[in-house]
Structure formats: structure tokens, C-alpha cells
Amino acid sequence: MKKTLIKITLTVFVVAILVLVIQYFSQTGKAESDGTIIFVLIDESGEEIIRQSVDYTRLKEDGDPNTLFDILNSEFNVVCAGAMYQKDETCSHSFTNGHVILSVETVETDFFNSYIEIYHNGVYSNKGISLIEFKDKDVIELRYKQVG
């Protein structure tokens, strides 16, 4: 009985820690105010094919905060990764750490052999497109990257 009680206590404790860790690392990136984002898209040959300013509002129509993914998805033709990293044109699947983008306009990747790198104001982003915090006049560069 005592042994089971210890196990239950430990289980509750570690599950609580896991929830906190996941919450901390999966906080969606929000904007402090309305503004403009500059999106840059670079293809496999290193050529800049899109450089476009996109106006955004801090909140979406439903009142939820706008994320970089939401802004990108509303302005460009985006294909996301589904649960098995297959192409998901609806972008309905979101991983623990947000959406994974496979394609933007004509730049297409498959996640396994190529993927899209994100640079935030010229710095390699430690976070995914759904988690990056951003502000007015930030530059988001999406670069095609070959694996290996």
C-alpha cells in the first residue's frame, strides 16, 4: 500500500513537471502591437524570390493572438507537415512546438531531405514559426536548406 502511494505521488510529481516543461517550451509567439513584418523567401539556388512587407494586427478576428505562422499562412501559399510529416495543405496539424512548414509558394521541402530554415532579423531562430515572438518591422527570412 505504502509502495503504491509513493508511486502515485512520484507519478503526479513527474507529470506536473512535464506539463510545465512543455508549456514553457511551447508558448506561442505573440506580437506586442499591430505592425508590419518583412518576409523574405530564398530558394534552393540561394536566390531571393520574395521580399514582401505584410501588415498584421496583434489579435486575429476570433480574439486569439496572431502568430508568425498565422500571418505567413494568410498571405502566402503554405503547406505544412502532417503528423507523419506528410504534406498537409490545410495546416490542420500542429506539433508540440507548433506548425512545421514544408513549402512556401514555390519553395518546396520534404522535411527529410530538405527543410526551411528561419532567420529572425538575420539570426538563426532557436524556435519554430509558431513560437517566435515578434515586433513591428522585424525581418523573417525563410531559406531552403538541403539536408547533409
Binding site: 507519478t11 512543455i22 532557436n126 547533409g148
Partner: protein, 164 residues
């Protein structure tokens, strides 16, 4: 090795391989660590190593698209369990001790995979390390809970089957 032993090892490989595929949709939630700890405790060092080699071989065949560079790190990661449990952590016997071992192993296994992942994806080391923390935590806690609750009943049951 007797035919009975070969059949047992093959069953162990099949169980570890199938459960991993079945749980693939859940990030890093698996019974693999529990099963390998269990096999290590039930089998000799050589037999446990044989099960792991065959399992990694099958896994690599299925996921060859991920790159052959992962094979040595996968092997190194999983072989660490029998190596450690037959040497420095030989005295770990209770489910709580082994669960703590599994918890720490979840992070160590994640770190072992980082060099290959960085090499293949060209993602800088620090961003990869940071991004991997929640996944390592999921594996660590999944290991802890599965070993804590399932190690003893499974160990008893398999021992019973072996002795009969």
C-alpha cells in the same frame, strides 16, 4: 543457443519493434526503454545486445531515409542500457531505482543523437539542443513512468513463463 532461446529473442525483438511503430504518432512516448531494461535484466549481456542490434537494424531499414549516420548513435544509445546495467549500475534492482535510471537515460539518449542530427540537418548545435529539451523530457518521464509501473509485473510474468 537453443531453438527456444532464439524464438524468445525473436519475440522480444518483435515486441520492441512493433510497439515503437504503434506509438510513433506520440512524440517520444514509447516502451522501448522499459523493454530493453527488462531484456537486460532477464537475459545475458550477449543476448540483450543481440536483441538491440537486430532491433536497430530493423528500425534503420524502415527509416533509412533519415540517414545511415543515425545507425551508430542509435546503437550507442540503446547499447548503453545493457552496458551500464551489467557494469556500474549492476546493483539497480527495484522498479524505483530502474525508473530513475530510465529518467536520466532519456536525456542521455537525446544528447547522444545530437551529433548525428546536427551533422545531417546542418542545424546549429545550440538551437538543436534547446529545441530538443521538451522531447528529451517527454522521453525521460515516459521511461520513468513505464518502468515504475510496469517493470515489476512484466519481470515476474516473464520469469514465470521462462521457468514453466
Amino acid at each position: 543457443m537453443k531453438i527456444k532461446d532464439i524464438a524468445l529473442l525473436a519475440s522480444f525483438v518483435a515486441i520492441v519493434f512493433v510497439q515503437e511503430q504503434a506509438l510513433m504518432l506520440l512524440p517520444n512516448i514509447q516502451f522501448t526503454t522499459l523493454l530493453i531494461v527488462l531484456y537486460t535484466k532477464l537475459l545475458s549481456f550477449k543476448k540483450a545486445v543481440a536483441v538491440i542490434i537486430v532491433y536497430v537494424f530493423l528500425d534503420s531499414l524502415l527509416w533509412l531515409g533519415m540517414g545511415i549516420v543515425y545507425v551508430p548513435t542509435l546503437l550507442l544509445g540503446w547499447l548503453l542500457i545493457p552496458v551500464l546495467l551489467h557494469t556500474v549500475f549492476k546493483r539497480l534492482e527495484t522498479s524505483l531505482e530502474l525508473a530513475i535510471f530510465g529518467l536520466v537515460f532519456g536525456f542521455v539518449y537525446g544528447w547522444i543523437q545530437i551529433p548525428a542530427a546536427v551533422l545531417i540537418t546542418n542545424v546549429p548545435f545550440i538551437p538543436y539542443l534547446v529545441a530538443d529539451i521538451p522531447f528529451e523530457a517527454i522521453m525521460a518521464i515516459s521511461n520513468f513512468l513505464t518502468i515504475l509501473w510496469l517493470y515489476e509485473p512484466l519481470h515476474k510474468r516473464i520469469k514465470m513463463i521462462q521457468s514453466s
